[in-house]
């Protein structure tokens, strides 16, 4: 296979993901409504309850809406990653996963293409959210809109790769509710998305340390800093490290000889 054929394959997978996203209007709307509900209702409710002191990357006191916006961007990517995982499980149950798996391209390439396709879709959603958030006076510096792009790509890849790993574990679509309860909500609530970690540390050192190693915390901080023209090296390094681990696990999970797919086949 030539480089041109690899790029044709990648663009075909991205196009298919985009078509599915556009065809499934409910998925499109709910992906946008979810963070907007948090912004409009949750942030409004806590506006006067939670004060946010000056913490990097902010240089002044900020309203609570401004604080949670980066976390909501990461939330879009988290849900999108899990949605991709759900779509992989659905494809496997419906059989359409086989179409992908019998392609002559290497399996690692197919999985990474699938991952990139999911990230492309999540980035479009993130920018639509940022455009709507502008009406809530969440207005980062103009350069922040550009600088946040690599942060969104990196965090989207990491969360999407986590979704791929989970999809290789999940046997049936019905088990996906467990992902909501045991992955999405714990990751979201034990992170810096809703409250700064110094506040968490005051309340519970254990939860603070859980939050510190939570990949979602670092995805949120990477986005937060990038949105305000700053680079958070620690968060970038942690997100890259988790990305490598999750991609490795996903490739292993989908390996026909060694991974979870091969083991699960026996149970089917």
């Amino acid at each position: 296979m030539t480089v041109a054929q690899y790029s044709l394959c990648l663009s075909g997978i991205v196009r298919r993901e985009a078509l599915r996203w556009l065809n499934q209007r409910g998925r499109f709307v709910s992906a946008l409504v979810r963070p907007l509900v948090w912004l409009a209702i949750f942030a409004a409710g806590f506006h006067f309850v939670l004060g946010v002191s000056i913490i990097p990357p902010y240089e002044t006191y900020i309203p609570y809406e401004v604080y949670i916006a980066p976390g909501l961007l990461a939330m879009i990517q988290l849900f999108n990653g899990m949605q991709s995982s759900l779509s992989m499980v659905y494809d496997r149950e419906m059989g359409s996963m086989k179409t992908l798996m019998i392609s002559p391209f290497p399996r690692w390439f197919l999985l990474i293409s699938k991952l990139l396709a999911g990230v492309a879709v999540s980035i479009v959603q993130a920018y639509i959210f940022l455009a709507i958030a502008w009406f809530w006076e969440i207005v980062p510096p103009p350069s922040g809109y550009l600088l946040v792009l690599p942060a969104l790509i990196l965090s989207g890849l990491m969360l999407g790769a986590l979704g791929l790993v989970l999809s290789s574990f999940i046997r049936q679509l019905e088990n996906f509710a467990g992902v909501m309860n045991f992955v999405i909500f714990p990751m979201f609530f034990t992170s810096s998305a809703l409250y700064p970690l110094w506040r968490v540390e005051e309340a519970s050192p254990v939860i603070y340390w859980i939050s510190e190693i939570n990949p979602f915390t670092h995805a949120t901080e990477l986005i937060r800093f990038a949105l305000y023209d700053r680079f958070n090296a620690l968060s970038a390094a942690v997100v890259v490290a988790y990305l490598v681990v999750f991609v490795g696990l996903a490739v292993w999970g989908y390996d026909p000889g060694r991974g979870l797919m091969a083991r699960r086949a026996g149970a089917e």
């Binding site: 419906m94 019998i102 026909p256």
Partner: protein, 274 residues
């Protein structure tokens, strides 16, 4: 739209007859065994599909046909035995093996929310085909199966028989030399079954494509087809119909099949599932 039973003629492929190209067979399986945990599903299976051969893999439900297909297509990894497609080992050279293979799985693998054309473009991309070339091939294959005017319809709107035809067109899009079909006629009416069978047999003759057609329906093993009987994960017989009849001493395939799988001969062959 073409009537269900109509089969458009399959023109011979210009300048290349795969049967004339002497070399390794389209599919070679040797000593293949597979188990899911303690449950042995395939035991020491060997079979060959020659270039341009129409080979019927006949077996009851649970005989191991689908597992065999999953191993040949590398969905599962075989732990014992060897699988080669035109001499390319599926484990050590999967790219060379998979790109010469077209597959129609037992369960439909079309994306119901996409149109016929979108499904086919997706498959073309997964084989690295350029968009222009893919468009031309899609037009040719859809015209051949009589669904060209349904190309912009969502797959969800098609009947079961039409979906099967689209899957066949998809499997042929990248011009494979080996076609695998796992129970392709399950759930189809008689006209749709006949259409598929006739179409694939024409492909075999006109293009020299090697075909492995898995089924539990005895009446699909007709004419000059080579027959492989698989039962409880073991190959019980392989060869043309007359050889199998001679080997078993039976008058028809139904009786021979019953004998080979350990049941009592029941007389004349029938179209029903054995």
């Amino acid at each position: 739209m073409a009537p269900e039973s109509a089969v458009a003629a399959v023109p011979p492929e210009a300048g290349f007859d795969r049967r004339a190209d002497h070399g390794p067979p389209a599919l070679l399986v040797r000593g293949l065994s597979h188990a899911f945990g303690a449950r042995q599903v395939l035991r020491d299976v060997s079979l060959t599909v020659g270039r341009g051969d129409f080979t019927v893999l006949l077996g009851l439900n649970g005989a191991g046909k689908t597992t065999l297909f999953a191993l040949i297509t590398r969905l599962y990894h075989s732990r014992a035995g060897k699988i080669e497609v035109f001499g390319a080992n599926i484990q050590s050279a999967p790219e060379a093996a998979l790109k010469r293979m077209g597959v129609v799985f037992q369960q439909s693998t079309l994306d119901l929310d996409l149109t016929v054309e979108q499904n086919l473009f997706y498959h073309a991309a997964l084989h690295g085909m350029r968009r222009g070339a893919a468009r031309q091939r899609i037009g040719e294959e859809l015209a051949r199966i009589g669904l060209i005017e349904r190309r912009r319809d969502r797959v969800r709107l098609l009947s079961g028989g039409q979906r099967r035809r689209v899957e066949l067109a998809r499997a042929l899009l990248h011009d494979p030399s080996l076609l695998l079909l796992d129970e392709p006629t399950v759930g189809l009416d008689m006209a749709s079954r006949q259409f598929l069978l006739d179409h694939v047999r024409q492909l075999c003759r006109a293009r020299g494509i090697g075909v492995l057609w898995a089924t539990h329906l005895i009446d699909e093993a007709v004419g000059d087809a080579r027959i492989i009987v698989l039962h409880q994960g073991e190959k019980r017989a392989e060869g043309p119909l007359d050889e199998i009849l001679a080997m078993t001493g039976m008058r028809d395939l139904k009786a021979a099949f019953d004998l080979l799988i350990g049941g009592a001969p029941k007389g004349a062959a029938e179209g029903d599932a054995p």
